[in-house]
């Protein structure tokens, strides 16, 4: 079946996404939606912990912080004021595989927003005083992260699975790294990330396409082409089975998981459907561990994947004295899944869920924009989610269950723990 027809059957309309490639190689995706007088602008680029080593971990996020503080045309006070005049809806993040800057503005402010974004991307000046200030803030953020039990559990699990590579590195980096970065480190890193071939811009909302295209050409066509950033290669080392920190908390925050396939693997699709089949308040882990064994308030699955790596895990926040019971409970479910697979009903429900989620997720400009951008960044095209519908429909239960036998390493699992104190 043509995916476009599927698209129509799912959404009842076909988004008319325009893909433009500027002379310098910069990709731009435009999608007009006129329901609200608002526009989402996202700037994406390859960067983050998969492109960093243990020695320069944190440089991407520090670069983002400093570049948004001073340009050739504005200092931090002026930039802050401009952002607030646009409503203040500006954020940026470093997400392991890519970095992104997001703006949500009124349609009437779109031109001003693009002016400001292009200035931030093209003309950051990296003044020493701003670098010093932002280094202090990033160190402060690292300390805050250490105070957050959920974030630390998440990082501990990723470290147990990937060591000091990719997911195993924090987006904020290490304090000693942050202290040693120089201005030229940041300037060079910025050049690598924010070059046209490494970037993607997506704009979704109520705008006039024709005038927007000429504005985008004017503002972004002079960015140097550069090249696509290359990720750091994974070198297999022996990692500890568990990464644990102990705290005087009321609860223990525990993640149990293992490495799985990346997005390019043919096993990805069946595993993604498996993940859906066991995620949610009505599914195995939640029902068994919370509803039946009342071991926790918070139970959910962790599944992250990009074209380089992937991991699956289960998170639970339980009382410290129930840690063993929680681990055994998770393993029991995983063993059962490995041996017996999903039931036909679980499998069919997950397939239906996949299509339904597209309908419930694509409800605002930002969600459309991020979905399109990730498809492009992953190399599958902006319409990747819709192209997968056909493949999901063709999947068979045996496809999923054979993948579970391969990847559910119940005897070789990893643990990330923030251990509370028993009372």
């Amino acid at each position: 079946m043509l995916w476009r027809l599927v698209f129509m059957s799912i959404l009842s309309f076909q988004p008319n996404v325009r893909k433009i490639i500027l002379k310098n190689g910069l990709k731009i995706l435009l999608y007009e939606r006129t329901s609200y007088p608002t526009v989402y602008i996202g700037v994406f680029a390859y960067g983050g912990s998969f492109y960093e080593t243990e020695e320069n971990n944190g440089i991407t996020f520090l670069t983002l912080r400093v570049m948004t503080k001073a340009t050739k045309n504005a200092d931090y006070k002026q930039i802050s004021k401009k952002l607030d005049k646009l409503g203040g809806n500006f954020s940026y993040s470093s997400e392991s595989y890519y970095v992104s800057l997001h703006m949500n503005v009124l349609s009437e402010d779109l031109e001003e927003a693009i002016e400001l974004l292009s200035d931030i991307i093209k003309n950051p000046t990296f003044p020493e005083d701003e670098i010093k200030k932002e280094k202090e803030k990033q160190i402060s953020d690292i300390k805050s992260m250490i105070d957050n039990p959920y974030e630390m559990m998440f990082l501990n699990l990723a470290k147990a699975i990937y060591g000091n590579w990719g997911y195993g590195l924090s987006d904020y980096g290490k304090i000693e790294n942050i202290k040693k970065f120089t201005r030229s480190d940041l300037v060079n890193w910025h050049k690598k990330i924010f070059c046209a071939k490494n970037m993607l811009i997506v704009i979704v909302g109520d705008f006039d396409g024709k005038s927007l295209v000429s504005l985008l050409k004017k503002k972004f066509e002079d960015i140097p082409s550069g090249d696509v950033l290359k990720p750091v290669k994974f070198s297999q080392n022996s990692f500890p089975r568990e990464v644990v920190i102990e705290r005087n908390y009321n609860q223990t925050y525990l993640g149990l998981g293992f490495r799985v396939m990346d997005l390019n693997s043919s096993d990805y699709l069946p595993f993604m459907i498996f993940s859906k089949a066991v995620s949610g308040m009505g599914r195995r882990f939640f029902v068994e561990l919370r509803d039946k064994k009342h071991l926790a308030y918070a139970v959910w699955n962790l599944y992250r994947a990009n074209p380089l790596a992937g991991y699956f895990g289960v998170y639970i926040a339980t009382f410290p004295e129930k840690e063993k019971e929680a681990v055994e409970g998770i393993l029991e479910i995983l063993k059962n899944l490995k041996e017996n697979g999903l039931t036909q009903k679980e499998f069919e429900d997950a397939k239906t869920q996949y299509e339904g989620e597209i309908k419930t997720f694509l409800v605002n400009n930002r969600n459309f924009g991020i979905t399109f951008a990730l498809g492009e960044l992953y190399g599958f095209g902006w319409d990747w989610k819709f192209k997968m519908i056909d493949k999901v429909r063709e999947l068979k239960l045996e496809d999923v269950n054979s993948v579970l036998k391969k990847y559910l390493k119940v005897d070789d699992y990893k643990l990330g723990i923030v251990r509370g104190k028993s009372r």
Binding site: P37, P149, F286, A317, F319, G356
Partner: protein, 448 residues
């Protein structure tokens, strides 16, 4: 007896854009509000009851609304535990519940072609929950995990400890330890009694936002709730907080790496005429990239990070909250500078530019938030339950627009005073230079 449900009123509301909003009241009192948003593929359904945590609960029953909320998706006469969630998730939707002080709500976001099915599930949970004894016992433990987890996150710790300090009488300030005791003492009988008393159609508002046809939704809801019988409801309301007379300070230590500081000024409840001015003051102080506290304390003096200020108006009362993170050796100076900035705003007011900018931010954020059908649904529900006005939050922008410079000054002088101030400082357990409560009171007295 079969209730004959008739359309009592049909009011068309103008809520901006070209989207139609219709309000229906069934003759059992259930209010249904439907907003059609045509170019999306999802529908947000939220059912709310006018009974919530703290305000509506006796002191020894605090958390009962929350406990009932947890039980509502735990099985009905038709559906066993876990089945409600399973059915919604199978559609690609999600469901959740929340308990606020103004009400208890049950929400679902589902694909637009599944709306009728989702309404059926919602109605089943609302009208036919069975509160199985074993599930009640198990869920008590689950909620205990949730409540105890509140104190593990430093910001959550700060927030709860600050409210304990501000509210000595009102249930908003119930000590966490007392909350755990109250929760532990709740029985199935308590829950069922609460459910039977408050979960009535004349105490319920159902909001549907998304790609639907209003009249079809009305017909479906009318059918689903035809046997839901109303009854007279007498709400319990907890004791109100008397005016604060003097500054209150508390110092805590915990297993953390940084120092977290929270400051609260007793403010006003939602809907009070001064709430709009207080929201603008909070935004000018610490609400945007260019806010005063950000510029002065974070950027210029480098005394703190992640600073914020926000107005937190609730059903019965409200607080203007300021929070930041700092290092042990900067605590004193950071607190002094933050207080000086507040004092400066109080004495010299704000500029026309600041006021204009803050109003614009409010307006933009209001419009942007409407992009999400969930935000629209919650605003309609909250406005209807609290003020019997689905448009309450749509009118907010206009009220904000009307605040003048002189009002800002008047409001700042009325509320940003030391006798209205409470402060919590949360230190790492191994901190060496801890400011004691008397030191903090002295600093506040000297600066403010």
């Amino acid at each position: 007896m079969f209730l004959k449900i008739i359309l009592m009123s049909l009011i068309s509301l103008n809520m901006g854009e070209d989207m139609s909003v219709k309000q229906y009241t069934l003759n059992n009192g259930l209010k249904l509000i439907v907003k059609e948003v045509k170019d999306i593929t999802a529908v947000y359904i939220i059912a709310g009851f006018k009974v919530g945590m703290y305000c509506y609960e006796p002191r020894d029953k605090v958390n009962i609304s929350h406990y009932v909320e947890h039980m509502l998706f735990k099985g009905t006469e038709k559906r066993k535990v876990g089945e409600i969630a399973k059915e919604i998730e199978r559609m690609g939707g999600y469901l959740n519940g929340f308990t606020a002080d103004w009400g208890t709500a049950y929400l679902m976001q589902v694909p637009f072609d599944k709306v009728e099915y989702a309404l059926e599930i919602n109605a089943d949970a609302v009208m036919h929950s069975t509160f199985p004894e074993n599930e009640v016992i198990k869920e008590k433990e689950v909620i205990l995990h949730e409540l105890k987890g509140w104190l593990d996150d430093p910001y959550s710790f700060l927030f709860h400890r600050l409210l304990e300090l501000v509210f000595e009488v009102h249930n908003y300030g119930i000590p966490h330890e007392s909350l755990l005791i109250s929760h532990n003492n709740l029985t199935r009988e308590d829950l069922v009694k609460w459910y039977r008393k408050y979960y009535k159609p004349n105490n319920m508002v159902l909001v549907v936002v998304g790609n639907v046809n209003s009249d079809n939704i009305y017909r479906k809801v009318k059918e689903l709730y035809k046997d839901f019988r109303p009854s007279k409801i007498d709400w319990y309301r907890c004791s109100q907080e008397p005016p604060q007379k003097e500054v209150r300070v508390k110092v805590y230590k915990g297993d953390i790496n940084k120092v977290y500081v929270g400051i609260a000024f007793r403010g006003v409840k939602e809907g009070h005429p001064d709430v709009y001015g207080l929201r603008l003051i909070a935004n000018i102080l610490g609400g945007g990239h260019s806010s005063r506290l950000d510029m002065k304390i974070v950027e210029n003096k480098k005394l703190a990070s992640n600073i914020f200020a926000m107005m937190y108006p609730q059903l019965d009362d409200g607080t203007l909250l300021i929070g930041f993170e700092t290092e042990e050796d900067k605590v004193k100076e950071a607190i002094e500078e933050v207080l000086r900035e507040i004092k400066n705003l109080k004495e010299n007011g704000v500029t026309q530019d600041e006021l204009k900018l803050s109003k614009k931010m409010f307006k933009v954020n209001y419009i942007l938030s409407n992009e999400r059908i969930s935000n629209q649904g919650i605003k309609i529900l909250k406005g209807t339950i609290m003020f019997d006005d689905p448009e309450f939050y749509d009118k907010y922008v206009k009220k904000i627009e009307e605040v003048s410079l002189s009002e800002i000054r008047k409001i700042a002088n009325e509320y940003l005073i030391s006798s209205n101030l409470s402060m919590v400082v949360y230190y790492p357990k191994n901190a060496q230079k801890i400011l004691q409560e008397k030191d903090l009171k002295r600093i506040i007295g000297e600066v403010f």
